[in-house]
């Protein structure tokens, strides 16, 4: 998928679900789609509030405290922001900063994710302890092929339309922490994802996430190495 190219003319689609419950009957769920033309300049301004943790380059924290945002699918970002905003996804650190009164309205939301999509990814994200050619890496690869490929893709590229996160380039410690939270029931996810994670042992989860951390990121998405 050529992710960058369709950026300029992208319309961000928001699915907003209203569950209207009246005294008399359960109304059906209504989906409203709103379309916005992103404004990158405003997106950059909005991003300031994100930058204090995810950093100006959107690379997050290598120790996994804050995930890399650069390179992530826009729909995935929007979904996470809205779920944290509503409290559906429990994240007390981020909650204050993604409210309408702080991050802004849907236009601002569209703008900021479009801006994030312009950021190149870190060339040196945090990886797991077992590199290629180790026994553990191979085990993780097997688990990945069996359980994860159908949604997250062969190379962990994810799927914007389906809201499946891109895994390539994400910090190992971050993915591991999130997966453990899912395992403990502390982070709500899609039932298919929950089923997979619940069925994996603690060790297998570590192995598969180790493998994920070594999935190569296409060169065109990476920032050049920085001189130290």
């Amino acid at each position: 998928m050529n992710y960058r190219r369709w950026l300029g003319f992208l319309h961000v689609i928001l699915g907003i679900f209203f569950l209207v419950v009246t005294t008399f009957s359960h109304a059906d769920e209504i989906t409203i789609e709103l379309r916005f033309q992103p404004n990158l300049e405003n997106g950059k301004l909005v991003y300031e509030i994100c930058a204090s943790c995810h950093l100006p380059d959107g690379w997050g924290d290598k120790d996994g405290t804050y995930p890399q945002l650069a390179g992530q699918h826009q729909n995935v970002l929007i979904k996470q922001i809205l779920e944290i905003r509503s409290g559906e996804r429990d994240n007390p650190l981020m909650y204050p900063f993604v409210q309408e009164r702080t991050l802004g309205n849907y236009q601002d939301l569209a703008d900021v994710v479009a801006y994030i999509a312009t950021l190149p990814m870190t060339p040196e994200h945090n990886k797991g302890p077992w590199p290629n050619f180790t026994k553990e890496y191979e085990k993780g690869k097997k688990i990945y092929k069996k359980n994860c490929v159908s949604c997250h893709g062969k190379t962990g590229e994810g799927n914007n339309k389906q809201y499946y996160p891109r895994l390539q380039g994400q910090h190992y410690a971050y993915v591991l922490r999130q997966a453990r939270m899912v395992q403990k029931g502390l982070r709500k996810v899609d039932p298919a994802m929950l089923a997979v994670v619940k069925n994996l042992s603690r060790e297998d989860l570590e192995l598969v996430i180790n493998y994920v951390s070594y999935l190569p990121v296409p060169d065109k998405d990476l920032a050049p190495f920085k001189d130290q």
């Binding site: 943790c53 924290d61 429990d90 007390p92 650190l93 204050p96 900063f97 409210q99």
Partner: protein, 447 residues
């Protein structure tokens, strides 16, 4: 479920009342003479609580820590029977109270019901005062009877330690507590402070920053800004004198420095390195080693110590200047007793004594206890601290900081780790602070 009272029992009860009302004073005195010496009488019966439906975990103190622990114990292990005890019948938040002083939020924002918290999160709230602990038999005594526990979590918070600012006798201590309350422990103090600031007619209003790890590191500096903003708004020619025990502003230093100089240059007088030696209440004078300062009104924030309950139960860490509990620095259980935990501001680790810290620590300790019951052990996880400080009002503008902690093996203590500081104030940060508190209240009381 309904409770019935039989007609006979009712008649008996009302009969006793009539009889009591009709007895002579002499009989009453006789009655009292018989019962008065049994001081512990009430505590030696089981507390009036529903029977435990599973292993009982008792949480003492319904502050930010206790509320979080109680909620998350049920989340991590729904079989646990959780009882939260607080001597207060109503929750009034200390975090955000500075903003309420300056009318940026109202009292409803700070006030929440323990009953809501218990109902929404599936635990029992018991409005009682804890008086003692017997760890041998795992019994906690309240003034309304004892409770058998499987696990006990003590989150009793702090008290002031006036001796550390040279206030030795109880008369003087009482006078200061009553007339110049610190405003960091209970709701009456906040109300008194608000009335004082609102009615101040000019002169010097003294605020102090204590030594040690006091509650809410940024709050005394934020409060100076709020007090100055109130005087400015009310058109009062008042000065805020902020005497700081520390050599410099302890947190968000540049931000507060800028706020003092740029926003309140003629109002806030900041004096660092003032080690208060004594307070003369007649002449309203504070003596430090080298100087003396006079004031017209004050809120004196004395150094803090762990709640006296910790000392009364014999759980104080002898190394702790602030009389905090002797606990494992990673898992928070008493050294040698994995059935009793101490969390929140009574802990002995040097974490920031703040609401967010207590909330994030509380989740972890709930998980630790749930794991312990299953015979599992968790790896230590650092608490988070997130703290907003208002410096400007109408509209509210604030700064913020997020930090974690890291254990230093050589120094055998914790230090800040992964600090993200925004020390430039903005309306957005002000709004984020309000949203933060709403999110926290939602977490502890409503969802």
């Amino acid at each position: 479920m309904t409770y019935k009272i039989s007609r006979r029992a009712f008649l008996q009860a009302s009969g006793t009342a009539i009889l009591a009302a009709g007895t002579s004073a002499g009989v009453l005195a006789e009655e009292q003479k018989r019962t008065a010496p049994v001081i512990a009488g009430n505590t030696l019966v089981p507390a009036p609580l529903p029977k435990a439906k599973g292993p009982r975990v008792v949480v003492v103190g319904g502050g930010w820590s206790g509320l979080t622990v109680a909620k998350y114990l049920k989340k991590f292990d729904k079989d646990l029977d959780v009882v939260l005890i607080d001597r207060n019948a109503l929750f009034v938040s200390c975090p955000m109270s500075n903003l309420w002083l300056a009318d940026q939020i109202n009292m409803d924002f700070l006030t929440h019901s323990f009953l809501d918290a218990a109902r929404n999160n599936g635990y029992i709230f018991f409005n009682a005062t804890v008086v003692d602990l017997d760890r041998e038999s795992r019994k906690l005594y309240t003034e309304q009877g004892y409770i058998d526990y499987e696990y006990l979590v003590l989150a009793p918070g702090i008290d002031y330690d006036y001796q550390r600012i040279g206030v030795e006798d109880i008369e003087a201590e009482y006078y200061i507590r009553n007339n110049y309350p610190g405003g960091f422990v209970n709701a009456s103090e906040y109300l008194t402070l608000k009335n004082k600031l609102e009615n101040f007619r000019g002169g010097t209003f003294l605020l102090t920053v204590p030594a040690g790890n006091y509650r809410c590191t940024a709050a005394p500096y934020e409060r100076a800004c709020m007090a100055a903003a109130i005087f400015k708004r009310n058109g009062v020619k008042g000065k805020v004198l902020l005497l700081d025990h520390n050599a410099e502003i302890k947190i968000k230093k540049d931000g507060f420095q800028n706020a003092f100089e740029q926003l309140y240059p003629d109002i806030i007088q900041y004096e660092p390195s003032v080690d208060i030696q004594s307070i003369n209440l007649d002449s309203r004078e504070v003596e430090s080693e080298f100087d003396s300062y006079t004031f017209d009104d004050a809120s004196i924030y004395a150094p803090v110590r762990a709640s006296r309950l910790i000392e009364h139960m014999g759980l104080v860490d002898p190394q702790s200047l602030q009389k905090e509990a002797h606990i494992d620095p990673f898992m928070n259980h008493l050294v040698g007793d994995e059935h009793v935990y101490v969390t929140g501001d009574a802990r002995s680790q040097p974490f920031s004594k703040s609401g967010h810290t207590a909330n994030s620590e509380g989740k972890f300790i709930a998980e630790v206890i749930a794991a312990h019951r299953k015979g599992e052990r968790l790896e230590w996880r650092s608490p988070q601290t997130m703290c907003f400080s208002g410096v400007k009002i109408d509209p509210l503008e604030a700064m913020n900081i997020i930090t974690y902690y890291k254990y230093d093996k050589e120094r055998k203590t914790f230090g800040f780790d992964r600090v993200h500081l925004v020390d430039v104030w903005s309306v957005k940060s002000g709004q984020a602070g309000l949203a933060w508190a709403e999110g926290m209240f939602k977490d502890m009381f409503y969802t």
